[in-house]
């Protein structure tokens, strides 16, 4: 944490869809950024610096797109930074932006993250055939399915916990007007009957491929004092990374995730996250990752995460709602997915989440991960000034 407090005073996102064919790349990022500015009641001129994040440039086929996007984000004459930390990038980008405020370098920072996956094909962009690199898996699912199997084996979880998460997050998405997948009549049978893709992961247990963007305006305490709506305050934030492979690596419950969580809890003065947090937005691209992350983040003891999910506690109305927005399972513009988690946490503590609001949420966790479960970014935001 820094010497200066950081407030989130504006939040915006696009309507996430499989193909946002009505806008250019600039139009997409602009839509989220303009909404964040409007929420903050600030103009382009008010912004001191822009921090932008996205996943690989090959998704859109634009190398270092901050160069082309400088005009659309009102960044001309300002500092502009482009972050890329794989799937965690949306979180890492928000953290880099927050540090500009916390370090006292800038007063009003706009941060934006996006992906326009419909410009290409995610499967192609993630797994091009490169000489000397074996291609035995199939996209991200082929990488993560073995980890899910390992989790099930290790924890002894019944094999329907994944179905339950898939249904729950999609029910949450029905309350979120921005969500990509809004599946009417979603239920356990619909998920169970969907095709098995990467056994044990079924089609409806996976995230979609989306076009979308998310943006936030962060300011110093002095500027936040004039904000039109109550801000969310940063109570803790951090990143942790570990190697993608090494001998003896625990990929199911990675130490980087545990260390990152411990760091943000310490910063926020949280000793029992299950008690002290009202809700959490976790990066769950495959349903089984909810119980896995519940353990990794200390909401449940090792091997017990699935019990928390199975108890219903993680649904809206439960003791610890997880992904009230519908999560990554309902909207996945990859580069923006992490920032959407961070932004949803902030919306919750600003009492701004509409139908998917957790009543009286005072503190919430935003979480993102990427690479081979190796890059983690998290923040805790609160209604009260820390």
């Amino acid at each position: 944490m820094g010497a200066n407090r950081c407030a989130i005073v504006g939040i915006g996102q696009t309507h996430h869809k499989a193909k946002r064919q009505d806008v250019s790349i600039a139009g997409l990022v602009r839509e989220a950024a303009a909404r964040a500015l409007a929420d903050a009641e600030l103009t382009w001129k008010d912004i001191d610096a822009v921090v932008i994040g996205k996943a690989p440039d090959m998704f859109e086929g634009v190398m270092m797109p901050e160069l082309y996007l400088a005009d659309a984000l009102g960044a001309v004459g300002k500092p502009m930074l482009r972050v890329h930390t794989a799937g965690s990038v949306g979180g890492s980008t928000a953290i880099a932006a927050a540090h500009l405020v916390m370090g006292g370098v800038h007063q009003r920072v706009l941060t934006v993250a996006f992906e326009k996956q419909s410009e290409s094909d995610a499967m192609w962009a993630l797994s091009p055939k490169i000489p000397f690199q074996p291609q035995l898996t199939a996209g991200a699912g082929g990488y993560f399915a073995p980890l899910v199997r390992a989790y099930i084996r290790r924890s002894g979880a019944p094999d329907d916990v994944g179905l339950q998460v898939a249904v729950k997050d999609r029910l949450h998405a029905l309350k979120n007007p921005y969500a990509h997948l809004r599946i009417k009549g979603i239920d356990r049978a619909m998920v169970a009957d969907s095709p098995m893709l990467w056994d044990p992961i079924r089609y409806l247990e996976t995230c979609p491929s989306s076009d979308g963007a998310c943006a936030m305006v962060m300011t110093s305490e002095a500027i936040a004092a004039a904000a039109p709506r109550p801000p969310a305050w940063v109570h803790g934030l951090s990143t942790r990374s570990e190697p993608v492979v090494f001998a003896g690596r625990d990929q199911v419950n990675p130490q980087a995730g545990r260390d990152c969580a411990r760091d943000v809890y310490t910063q926020a003065g949280i000793s029992d996250p299950r008690r002290d947090l009202a809700c959490a937005e976790l990066y769950v691209p495959f349903s089984w990752f909810e119980p896995m992350w519940l353990e990794n983040l200390g909401f449940a003891a090792p091997g017990e995460g699935w019990k928390l999910t199975a108890s219903g506690a993680t649904a809206l109305g439960g003791a610890l709602p997880i992904n009230p927005s519908g999560g990554v399972l309902s909207s996945n513009p990859i580069g923006a997915s992490g920032m959407l988690r961070f932004a949803e946490a902030a919306m919750q503590v600003r009492d701004q989440a509409g139908e998917h609001q957790v009543d009286g949420a005072r503190r919430a966790l935003g979480h993102a991960y990427g690479g081979g479960s190796q890059f983690f970014a998290m923040w805790i935001v609160g209604r009260d000034r820390p």
Binding site: M64, H84, L100, G103, V105, E242, P243
Partner: protein, 352 residues
């Protein structure tokens, strides 16, 4: 602002093509050398951040394997920018301002030899109305050179003389790629690459890597005898389309210099990231540097231009010279994008 200094810099000799080393093997030796110079163990680094670009290698997530070079175990506090490493250094400097950590490691690598760099750089341009023209970086830089010549601020001979001077300076830099001395007359006899630019006025294509260590306040003083203090650092971006800019000026460099406190002061040396010879003229003017300042004593980007590395290397080269007593005050600069679209300026100073 908190006092932060560059306390170590290591780089690989730039080469046209390094086939034996993969990314991790480019980075591992420079990280090890920079940490050794800083008298730091890797587990003592507070924050690590790197700069690199997938398109140079043609594959997504290339930074993931390179991370092994720092052995991020136990897990580390880390970030990555898809930019020149100079911007990674800026992120680290910002991170150090928060006050809870005291050291940062920055590294950058670039292996341009795998693809056809001019073709790769086309992908950087507006994807709707510019990239489809296939406008390559040399062709665009040549537009800027012509504008400067038309404005009477440089001549083709002037560019050759500037390039010859950089080669003379590069002869003393074992990491430079173009070190063979050539006279301006010899250079002027080269054919045009894209007129008015001949090869000597364009950067070489390079593979390379470098690493820098930053430390704050007393930690910097404890670790090394002469830290190169960052007295100011800032960067600014311009409109993307060349037709919307005055190509003969660099207002973003000027503004960044103003914010970094680089205007009006005395400098012993300047390391300017000018991949094309004429860009040095534009940058010198934007920074208001007079004839008393040694420009690019390392040989600069005309002598070695590993993409995503060369900007960070300018900061490292300038700092190294201060730390070894070759000057007291320096300005370093990095650029990104076509024709100097995005510019970073850093003022460095050593204690007397």
């Amino acid at each position: 602002m908190r006092d932060v200094a560059i306390i170590a810099f290591a780089q690989l000799p730039s080469v046209r093509r390094d086939v034996t080393r993969e990314e991790v093997e480019l980075v591992q030796p420079v990280v090890a050398a920079a940490l050794a110079q800083a008298h730091l163990r890797r587990e003592d680094v507070g924050f690590t951040v790197s700069g690199s670009c997938d398109y140079l290698l043609g594959r997504p997530f290339s930074f993931v394997m390179a991370l092994d070079a720092v052995a991020p175990w136990p897990p580390i506090h880390e970030s990555h920018v898809e930019m020149d490493g100079a911007w990674a250094l800026w992120e680290a400097w910002v991170r150090l301002q928060a006050g809870d950590i005291d050291t940062a490691l920055i590294y950058a690598y670039g292996k341009s030899s795998l693809g056809d760099l001019p073709e790769v750089l086309v992908q950087q341009l507006d994807p709707y109305v510019v990239a489809p023209l296939g406008a390559d970086a040399v062709g665009l830089a040549a537009l800027q050179a012509r504008a400067l010549i038309d404005a009477g601020r440089v001549t083709e001979r002037g560019l050759a003389e500037l390039a010859a001077a950089r080669r003379r300076q590069a002869a003393d830099n074992p990491c430079a790629q173009r070190r063979a001395p050539r006279s301006a007359d010899e250079l002027l006899a080269e054919p045009y690459q894209v007129a008015p630019l001949r090869a000597h006025a364009c950067p070489p294509i390079s593979d390379g890597a470098c690493a820098v260590v930053l430390a704050a306040g007393d930690t910097a003083r404890r670790l090394v005898s002469s830290p190169a203090w960052i007295r100011g650092i800032d960067h600014r971006i311009e409109p993307h389309q060349l037709g919307m800019r005055d190509l003969t000026a660099s207002p973003s460099t000027r503004l960044a210099a103003e914010r970094a406190g680089a205007l009006g002061g005395r400098f012993d040396l300047a390391e300017l990231h000018a991949p094309f010879a004429h860009q040095e003229v534009i940058l010198r003017d934007a920074l208001g540097l007079d004839d008393g300042v040694a420009i690019n004593p390392s040989g600069g980007a005309l002598s070695a231009n590993p993409m995503m590395v060369a900007g960070l290397a300018r900061l490292g080269e300038a700092a190294t010279r201060l730390m070894t007593g070759q000057g007291r005050r320096a300005v370093a600069h990095a650029t990104s994008g076509p024709c100097l679209q995005h510019n970073l300026v850093c003022v460095l100073e050593r204690d007397v």
